[in-house]
């Protein structure tokens, strides 16, 4: 069974009289444990699509099923709870919480979202920090580590709740090439180890090549999808 199914998915932004169709009748399916990339130029609708899949926004029309849930019908609270249980996020700007250490940042979703018991939380956080190679820096604050290290911490944070899906919007945009590959490698490794589905958007053609499935978006329409 597909993890994500989109049927005639559309999103239109309206500002007064002006209407912008960001996504137009998209139809696609993504299977569990996939490593998927959405590519396309700026304004093609990549971020909008990831926002819809991540329950951060609602489609104007169409159906979007994520893990057998019609996410377009979720209210704010339900959407937050759904994200907390099922989805991990990796942001372009890392978005670590500056007042928390690396260890606390990774543990945040377990502590504040899932209320995981302390011992289990500690074990899970340390395992993931080891996996992304950040265990040595666990007591550092975000402003004491490099961009690549921040994104590795963000990957660990996204995976710490053992989500079915991780969404990454331009995760390598603020990284140099070498670090970008390192982060993609970690994501792939995690996908293989944990069976998590990774969906990321990018416009970096070299990084795109790392994806198993690539969807191209142009002016809000899917132009192709390949394995």
């Amino acid at each position: 069974m597909s993890l994500i199914t989109a049927n005639n998915l559309s999103k239109t932004y309206a500002k007064g009289e002006l209407k912008v169709e960001a996504l137009k009748d998209l139809n696609f399916q993504i299977e569990p444990a996939s490593f998927v990339s959405f590519v396309g130029p700026s304004g093609s609708g990549k971020t909008t699509l990831l926002n819809l899949i991540g329950c951060l926004d609602k489609p104007t029309s169409g159906v979007l099923m994520v893990d057998n849930t019609d996410v377009s019908g979720l209210n704010t609270r339900m959407a937050a709870a759904f994200r907390g249980r099922k989805i991990g996020f990796i942001f372009q700007d890392f978005n670590l919480i500056p007042v928390l250490t690396v260890y606390e940042n990774v543990g945040y979703p377990l502590l504040m979202v899932q209320n995981t018991p302390s011992l289990e939380r500690k074990e899970r956080v340390l395992t993931l920090l080891e996996a992304v190679g950040m265990a040595q820096k666990k007591n550092k604050y975000p402003d004491q580590i490099s961009g690549g290290q921040k994104q590795r911490v963000a990957v660990a944070r996204a995976l710490v709740t053992n989500p079915k899906l991780v969404l990454a919007d331009e995760p390598t945009a603020n990284l140099d090439h070498k670090t970008a590959y390192m982060v993609i490698d970690i994501m792939k490794k995690m996908k293989n180890e944990l069976g998590t589905t990774f969906i990321f958007s990018t416009h970096d053609q070299k990084i795109v090549g790392e994806a198993e499935i690539i969807y191209s978006l142009e002016d809000g329409e899917l132009t192709n999808g390949r394995d």
């Binding site: 951060l56 996020f89 978005n95 504040m112």
Partner: protein, 412 residues
């Protein structure tokens, strides 16, 4: 919850200068209120003590209608032996009463053989009077600290005006309740310091001398002043005494007695009330300071952390928890300011107390002010500050929780 506190405190420490400034503002407000409450309370309590312990007592009992006519000191409204017995019985059944003093109050003429003027006098049993109003003896500025038969304590203004001094002979002339006039020679036993309030400028003689001048066959009492063991029980004891005596009716079937607390008898009560009103407004000012400063900081905190709010919301933090995070931040700020303010306030009050400040009130000079603050006041002020801090954070916290993660994440 502990983790929310930890995050809140770290967020506050992130902007150290702003946090310190805001907490300082709150602390200064708390200090100001505590010092004001302490000093005004000390002034109020001292003045109440002066009034009740110098001449008024805590409670007074009269025949019904006496207080309304007190300016004319009517002898027709004295308590006879029978009615006095009822009052004394009620007093004896009230264990909270420490002492009471029976007084004959009357107006008369005071002559130094050259000039004559009018005078208001109290005839008292000296031992009972001293037990009931312990500061009485300290008011005697010159002469012996006692009231002996045949001696009079003359109010200082009267002594000055009539140019009499301790040891001089004077004559007191008074009209009794039947209209006949009588006079008696007295030796000036002492000069009595004036105190604020009605009766504060009366002269004193022994009660037997008063009965002799007024030609009383049996003792008639104008007023009974009562002192309680514990001033804090004033209202409860007053209620009980009033209720006991309310059952005693006169020939017209109306209550025979009237019972009054010092508050109803002294105009200083209005000053005390005014101090309470001022204290209330000072507290309102503190609330305004805390409200504005905390709300300002919390609004800025939300505005500066929009992307962070978007991040934690995207991760799945529920709106209620986001509200809690900001409320706890406001709470911590208020708590910190209140604690610092309490410590500084107590320190300043202690210094003022050690400094032994004196002040003048009316004709009373060099009254010693002893500022102090009780735990209840400190707790009430601190709780007000903390509650207002939380309330001030409510709107920014609610705003943060209602932010759409998608918009918040886009914020630059």
């Amino acid at each position: 919850m502990l983790n929310i506190f930890k995050i809140a405190v770290r967020n506050l420490m992130r902007y150290k200068r702003r946090t310190l400034l805001t907490a300082s503002l709150v602390a200064i407000g708390v200090v100001f209120v505590l010092v004001f409450i302490s000093v005004s309370g000390a002034f109020k309590n001292m003045m109440i003590g002066q009034i009740t312990d110098s001449f008024l007592g805590h409670i007074q009992i009269h025949k019904k209608g006496y207080v309304a006519s007190i300016d004319s000191l009517p002898l027709t409204l004295n308590l006879g032996p029978k009615t006095l017995g009822k009052v004394e019985k009620a007093i004896s059944q009230t264990p909270e009463i420490e002492a009471y003093s029976k007084r004959i109050k009357f107006g008369g003429m005071f002559s130094n053989f050259v000039e004559t003027t009018n005078v208001r006098l109290n005839g008292v049993y000296p031992e009972d009077e001293v037990k009931t109003v312990p500061l009485f003896l300290s008011r005697i500025r010159e002469g012996k600290k006692n009231i002996k038969l045949g001696e009079i304590l003359v109010p200082e203004l009267l002594a000055k005006g009539m140019k009499v001094k301790v040891g001089d002979t004077v004559v007191v002339i008074a009209t009794n309740r039947d209209g006949s006039v009588n006079g008696k020679e007295f030796q000036v036993g002492g000069i009595l310091e004036s105190v604020t309030g009605p009766g504060g400028r009366d002269g004193y003689i022994h009660i037997d001398d008063a009965a002799e001048i007024l030609r009383m066959d049996t003792l008639e009492i104008s007023e009974i002043a009562i002192r309680l063991k514990d001033f804090d029980k004033l209202h409860s004891v007053f209620d009980r005494l009033r209720d006991k005596l309310a059952n005693e009716l006169n020939k017209q079937g109306k209550p025979a007695f009237e019972v009054h607390m010092w508050e109803k008898l002294s105009p200083f009560y209005n000053v005390a009330r005014m101090i309470d009103v001022m204290t209330f407004f000072i507290k309102l000012m503190l609330i305004a300071i805390v409200l504005v400063s905390i709300m300002n900081v919390m609004v800025m905190a939300v505005y500066e952390r929009i992307r962070e709010i978007g991040t934690i919301a995207a991760i799945g933090t529920l709106p209620g928890k986001i509200v809690a995070m900001f409320l706890v931040e406001g709470f911590s700020l208020g708590f910190f300011g209140a604690v610092v303010g309490d410590i500084l306030g107590i320190a300043i009050i202690s210094v003022l107390s050690i400094a032994k400040l004196t002040f003048n009130f009316g004709r009373q000079k060099g009254l010693l002010l002893s500022p102090g603050i009780n735990l209840q006041d400190i707790l009430v002020i601190s709780i007000i500050v903390i509650i207002i801090s939380v309330l001030a954070s409510l709107q920014p916290a609610y705003k943060a929780s209602r932010m759409k993660p998608i918009d918040a994440l886009r914020h630059v």
